[in-house]
């Protein structure tokens, strides 16, 4: 894929990111919201790697490694929270989880 300009990857990344944003905003299932967050993270990863290639610098890939590690931790905790939530409320509908209002 040598002939593909870096800009194309950036545009693709932007589109994926926006799709992720929409998903976070309109889904009521926290698991899917989580997936959309992963989607956003991956879109950013794509940007990093594309720019890393563009500038011929390994740093772009280093960031991605950290993003992945953080994402893994985040998923472990997040899903744990969701399971705990389900245990106490018998639902995971995010609109019914509004105790923090008070």
């Amino acid at each position: 894929m040598l002939g593909v300009p870096t800009e194309y990857f950036l545009v693709l990344s932007g589109i994926l990111f926006t799709i992720g944003v929409i998903g976070v905003l309109i889904k009521r299932n926290p698991i899917v919201i989580f997936m959309c967050i992963e989607l956003m993270l991956n879109a950013v990863n794509l940007t990093f790697i594309a720019l890393g290639r563009h500038f011929v610098h390994v740093n772009g890939q280093m960031y991605v490694i950290f993003v992945m590690a953080v994402a893994a931790a985040e998923v472990a905790i997040g899903l744990g929270i969701i399971v705990a939530l389900f245990r106490s409320k018998e639902t995971i509908n995010i609109d019914e989880v509004n105790l923090m209002k008070y």
Binding site: V21, V24, L25, I26, K27, R28, I94, D95, V97, N98, L99, M100, K101, Y102
Partner: protein, 700 residues
Amino acid sequence: MHELPSANLVGLITGLPLLGFLFHAFFGKLIITRMGNAVGKRVVGGLATALVFASFGVSLIIFSGLLSMEGEHKRAFASLIPFLSKPVAWIDIAGFKANFGALVDPLSILMCLIVTGIGGLIHLYATGYMAADKDYARFFTYMNLFIFFMLVLVLADNILLMFVGWEGVGLCSYLLISFWYEDTENSKAGNKAFIVNRVGDVGYALGIMAIFAFFGTLTFYTADGKGFLDAAIAGKAANGADFTAEIALVIGLLLFVGACGKSAQFPLHVWLPDAMAGPTPVSALIHAATMVTAGVVMLTRMSPIIVKSETVLLVVAVVGLFTAIFAATIALTQNDIKKVLAYSTVSQLGYMFLGCGAGAFGAGMFHVTTHAFFKALLFLGAGSVIHALHHEQDMRRMGGLSKKIKVTYLTMLAGWVAICGIPPFAGFWSKDEILGYAAGIHSFGMLIYAVGLITAALTAFYMSRLMWKTFWSDQRFDEAALGAHGHGGDSHDALHDHGNDAHSVHDAQPHSSGVKESPPSMLVPLVILAALSVVGGFIGTPFNNFFEHFLEPSIARSEAHHGVSFLTGAALGTIAAAIGIALAYTLYAKRRATGELLTEAQKAGNLLYQAPANLWYVDRFFYDLFVIRGGNIAVALWRVVDQNIIDGLVNAVAGITGLFSELFRRLQTGYIRAYALSMLTGVVLVVIALLWSAMRTMGK
């Protein structure tokens, strides 16, 4: 440059008391509760005392090093952090620089010796005196902290760090005056001391600013001669401007105001007598021997600036002289033994200022030293008397103690002869030195000398009165009644620790009646101080003035000279003292039984008695002006401005906030997605704003 290897140890002088402070602050109480009252208190008190004496030992080492140092300027620079030779920067902001450094020179080391030496003795004394107190650890915490700050004050190599020590000792003074804070009077006395001192501190702070404004540095001396005192001696400021008398006037007067506050000079003397509310060792340490002399030390340190302006010198001399005679008159009429000594202290401080004002800073410092000996002795002796009488401080209920508490009596006697100025005891040499220089003051010399002599006579009189009433007259108290309710009464020194401390000195015979001599821990310091009071003056005799010669490198050369010859002065001084003593002796010998010159009725009608007895109405005036009227104004301001306008504003702000909160509360839906949406809205707005600005810049 002449090296002083032991200067690196200077940090230990301050460090050891600080260590004691920290240790006692964190573990003192714990030790006493864990190890039991008797052992624990011995450990705490012993440690506090030992650390101060260790500090004294270090001071001695440096002192001996300083003695063997050659050259004109005996001076070394070190850090206040132990074993560090280079001062570390404390503040260093854009040219405003102050080191955490020590200036080791004769003046600072002399003061170190006094502070740690006398301080150590007083600590030792306090281990006995405070033995029954429940806040024993807290007391020694404060005492060690005080010693630390005092040492910082005298050792500081810049005026800002000196100010830190200055304020630190003020704080400790406040803490210790109101040590028995459960008594409202004590708290009030502490407040008074604190507030009056603030007035002086304003002057000091302004003085610091003036110094920085003119000289551009706050360091006294530096190795390469860049300090502001170096500059003052050279007569040039950092920017090359001449150091004129006008500038010296401004700086000198401002600093003098500060010195007045700390050293209780008229009209800022009002706090010192009230400070007697603290425990007697505190009175001895802070309000007689060390802290109150800080003003003199500071003026001496600043002598290169002070001597530049004749006016400042004159103001210092006149204020000092006035304070001396003014306080001496009050001391004539006081009945509380500690009050007499307090006004005596004010009076003696006046002498010291007179010496400084005469340009004889060395003489002033000499009097600081001898006064530290005998006034500490007198205070501690008074404390011993009070202790013996189960906390009776009123001299009208004393008398005839000379046979009952012999050691105390004899040591007090030594203090008495020293303060009266009888040759060859300590007070004689220093007082004569000061008066001799005072007589040399340009054009007013003889007048000042005369007033000084009168003050000396008055001093001899009131001290003799004190001795009479306490020791020599007939016994005027019911010895049997003493122990029974001895702990209560009107004494400020009342101990608050009844009963739960079976091993304390005081409660060893809990209900023993009668007068009893103090324990050895209290007598040993008395004896040492008595010895110093007797022979201490010989370090500065006119024949072989070791003292002033030693101090010379720290003091600016002035045109001070003796206005009278030594022999004349000595004779006149002795005569004045003799007149005072003789007058007192003859007057009181006739009234041995009552111990009073005047009856209560006579006192009431005699304005000449009433005025000094009421402190010349100065306190009342201040009270009326500042506390009552000022208070009324404050109340009016509170009612009108504070309650309506300021509170109204605050309430309005709160109300508006509440209103908006009520509005925005509705945004807090609890729906996570709504929050996410608002975040996205924010992001979009930011992106659009960035875009907009980018387009604008591109449009240009």
